[in-house]
Symmetry: D2
Subunit: 379 residues, 4 copies
């Protein structure tokens, strides 16, 4: 496979590579790692690319790789550039016949997202959107438990993603990560809501299996001089009658990265949080709460498929990330071989999640600006 | 002192008595514990009242006690009846010259609350409103730390109170607690928001020292047949520029009673929750979080005044409740003796909290019905 | 009732009084609170004793109270003096016909403990030994669950009690609590093992229902100049074939008071710790662990009898302490009335626990000095 | 590199491969993955080995690889066979000039361990012993904090490793992992103490920087029919005057894999456990405890070198494992290039840890059989 973006000066590219390497099923053989030729070359050497497959320009790379014989050329690309450089390389890769993995949010606008989804459907190729957190085994356990109906009708969802790293005007100092994420030209119309609110939204829809139908948002810019929201919350209404509260903040000083979801049904509910990722807390109306643990013998097939070690060996963010790639690769390989992928393999975020994520961004920003309480969730 | 309400068939009265007895500073000598004569008598015997001071009617009791010589008659009454029987006995007690302790919410309507507050001011007597949770030592520690400015300007408040006990239509079975709390005639215009939302609201204003200026609420009735909200959330705006999210639910199946608050300022923040009541978690932007513990040598004078044991001996809900009474009694006794109560003693909820609590109920219900996003917080 | 010891300058006496007062069932009417007349008087005034029932000498008090008419005189005494002043007042109180509550360890020596036990049996009176920690509802839940056999044969016990408050030579400064506890003349032959090791030992035998038959101890004095052990551990063998490890330290710097027990049987086990006292963690070989919570509807009759509030209202150390007195008083009252006390009432520590506690002290100190690995547990 | 053992039917081999692959710095190009030719071949195909480098016999592999030109042949081998097949392949690999990574315990006997250590010293090659748990960033943070003296003299160590998976006679059913671990012929003279006690011992010496000088052990076989200890504990004395308690059990029903260490010095101490691996709890005598977190800006260079993501992205067992390989590879590469490895790179367990681990096994078993309390720790 080949990577677009993710050179030495980037953050998420290195994470993708660890996730790709972990299971020893994929080789990274090409890369357009940076538009800066020096960085591109040095970054390529870092990861042992052959000189001739180090590119500074994804277009050239896609052209050249597409021209190679099938057994030599790449199978898929991973796009790990800032948001405004997602759509074009993804479209071109699909057109050239490559499968695509892509950082979230999928595109810069909702319109692009819909076009990309159509292209995927039209080509029959596979697209992975790296909403990492749904890759955790106990998140998968949660989704299946709710799906089974064991909690009765779902009534309430609390989902939150508090961070503190943008508590100061970091974009004013020399912080590349802060700079592009707070810049409307590179990040899009949303700040915190785009960067982490989308993860919370995706988590809520994934775990409950329900769809948001309307929302009411309060978006804030708390740090002076900032151009995009760095804090916000939204009330949610779901198509199954449940209501929810979504909270996302990047000015929650001292918080790290603890995305957390709580869901309540008629008979009980569950709670998962990244800080204790191998645990799923299951509550009941009238009996003791239960602690489900990853890697045990009693979890369902989705949870056990996505764990690599027995219970008690903590697996974390990188394994969750690797699960996305592993399922994507298992699916692509099965399809390539004309086999039917297992349901557990197919359970990774794709174009539909990408479109809904972009719709969330557009709707939550519209609601944030509106004087009306409720905004319909329009896709 | 004497108690109004709180007979054998009640819940909160017994809690008040434990809180009153704990420190051995107050004798319960009279009571109008029930309007049912049999229950009143039996309940009076349970707590060793003299036969002649067991009443079935608070009016008679207040008349008779007021007629006794000063060294024999009661000093104060505790009113622990359902919400719709708060205002009248409180007014009468004040008029007869007795101090008053009263369960929250203070009255049935905001209008009553304002009248009661005026009466307190006019009489110079002392009124305690039992917002229990602000009686915890680490909640007091939190308030003082924020007041000191050590976290910089406060930006964000999350306060939540999830319960699950009303997940079923309990008022349809023979549950007295559920019955009056879900009945608009006895509880007032709000259900969950009146019962526990007011606690969350009071906690947010107490800990931050800021006042809510507007809010946007989503109130829900999730259990079929119920007459009042059993779930809700509100966005808050504070007079110091902070924003907040308040969540209160009684259909969060499996949740017990874990009121929790998180506050974030420019430099750090803090977190407290009832389930781990002796701990205050203090977070910082750029150094390790700290675990402040009740009963230690390093906590402030407000926290240490409100603890009875050294660190590591967990104190809980009943001690927090007893702290309210202890401070109320210390204050009353000091005033009676013509002494100036210490600041630590004066730190208990009174008529101002009661008025703001009733205003919260009226405003949050109004916002819940409104199509407009924001409702000004009117007192 | 009357109190012996527990004046203004003491610690544990005030705790006993809160425990006694909490449930409003007992009046403290007399006291020999200090041998220092000034302190005795001031302390008596603090707790509203009548002048004529403030004593400076427990012998006089017991004589005078015994001479009063039955409906005026005290029912029982609480002995809250340092260890070396336990036996004499307890014997005299029993001889005068008073029930006795007594701080642990029960006596100064094992021999005294056996004599006191005989006296209790001979008089038919009731003795309470305040091993507080077995008063917690979830400790009672634990004992009954193990007794039911649901975990199969018990195999392993870990019990620990780490404190840090004696990490410095506190007895060298003006600390009364440290001074007597580290003084062989007032505390006895053991330091940490007597003060907190006995609690851990009592907890292990109480929860498992098994008896220690031999042990192997490593006792240490870690702070220079100290006269008694401030740290230690012991391997235990129980009469049911289980083995155990007991750890008690007062130099575990930064630790507060977190006594904790873990028990493992063939099919599962459980864990309880004071820092999270309302929770009992129940583990299973092949299914999710369960979180049992105090105050819920599903706990057993022993746990629910010993809770005052519904689930989610944390009860702590003072309530556990009050449970001991409450059960003692319920038992004494039933016996006095010629009624059979309920099993749940009888479940408080008495002379047998006192004898075994003193035997633990003598055996653990003997083992600590021995070169042989195992010392038989001799009573 | 090449792997010896670790075929399809093994457990730990797959873990090693994930650890090796994660950072994309090493290619697995050869393997003697099983002595069963079918399994060897299938396992080789699983990991994409070239047909000619799939071996069924490590001797042939080492011969053939050693005969290849330097730029083609392997650099190092990983030995992931049961304990009784560690020494021979390790010695041969070293003799052929290959660096060696080896599962713990290093050998079958102490004598072998000493010989292997000598061989490493004599050849100048590098040996990694995979004591995984010291690869966690917060364990490294702990070691450096203690080394700095900030806690004063270390006094007490509690280290524990409770597991429950051998609570039944698993070796009687068809469980390969249980079978060899409980078989003296393949595992050695110790069961639980060899399998997990060694990890606890290594953790205690690593974190404190002190050496055990004598011990007193209680070893038990709790499951009928088992041939080796499945439970045990030991008192430890360290060369710096500290004492300790080590607990290791495989019959702690319901426990997973939560190795935990607590260390106390004169001024404070620390606590780390695998279940919350990204946190180091630091306690102080007279100020709030602190929560140190992996990936933050304030941790030391050892902790930050061994983390791959910013704070809040949990890293777990596989990353800790990968840290061992990463440091081993950085060291080997530096030495190969004639450069001086950084101190942070050299911080991985090697032959000295292996020798002490085997000495622990021999000494703890000897003590377990002895009637004397203390056994000198002889290497």
């Amino acid at each position: 496979m080949a990577m677009i973006g993710g050179g030495r000066d980037a953050f998420i590219g290195a994470i993708h590579r660890i996730a790709i390497n972990m299971d020893g099923q994929v080789d990274i053989v090409a890369g357009a790692l940076s538009v800066n030729p020096e960085i591109a070359t040095a970054s390529g050497h870092d990861i042992f690319l052959n000189e001739e497959r180090i590119y500074t320009d994804y277009k050239t790379m896609l052209e050249k790789e597409a021209a190679m014989p099938q057994d030599k050329r790449i199978d898929f690309v991973s796009i790990v550039t800032p948001n405004f450089v997602h759509f074009d390389p993804a479209m071109m890769a699909l057109e050239k016949g490559f499968h695509v993995a892509i950082e979230k949010p999928m595109t810069f606008t909702l319109d692009e997202a819909k076009k990309l989804k159509s292209k995927v459907e039209q080509t029959g190729l596979t697209l992975l959107l790296t909403h990492t957190y749904t890759g955790y085994p106990m998140v998968k356990q949660a989704r299946q438990m709710i799906k089974s109906g064991m909690f009765g009708k779902i009534r309430k969802v609390y989902v939150e993603y508090p961070q503190g790293w943008l508590s100061t005007f970091l974009e004013g100092s020399n912080n590349k990560q802060a700079a592009w994420r707070t810049d409307p030209k590179r990040s899009g119309i949303a700040g915190a809501m785009g960067d982490i609110g989308t993860h919370a939204f995706n988590m809520a829809e994934y775990v409950t299996g329900a769809k948001v139908t309307k929302l009411c948002a309060d978006l804030n810019i708390m740090v002076e001089g900032r151009l995009l929201d760095d804090d916000g919350a939204a009330f949610l209404k779901f198509d199954n009658g449940a209501s929810g509260v979504l909270m996302a903040s990047q000015i929650a000083a001292g918080e790290e990265n603890c995305i957390k979801i709580r869901v309540y049904g008629e008979k009980g509910g569950l709670e998962w949080k990244q800080e204790d990722a191998n645990t799923l807390l299951v509550r009941w109306l009238d009996k003791p709460a239960e602690i489900y643990r990853a890697g045990t013998g009693y979890v369902n097939s989705y949870a056990s498929h996505n764990a690599r070690t027995p219970a008690g060996h903590p697996e974390g963010y990188l394994e969750a990330f690797a699960n996305l790639y592993r399922n994507f690769v298992l699916t692509v390989r099965a399809k390539t071989n004309g086999e039917k992928p297992k349901d557990e393999w197919l359970d990774f975020p794709g174009p539909e999640s990408g479109v809904r994520g972009m719709a969330f961004i557009e709707n939550v920003v519209a609601s944030g600006k509106s004087d009306k309480k409720w905004t319909d969730f329009i896709v």
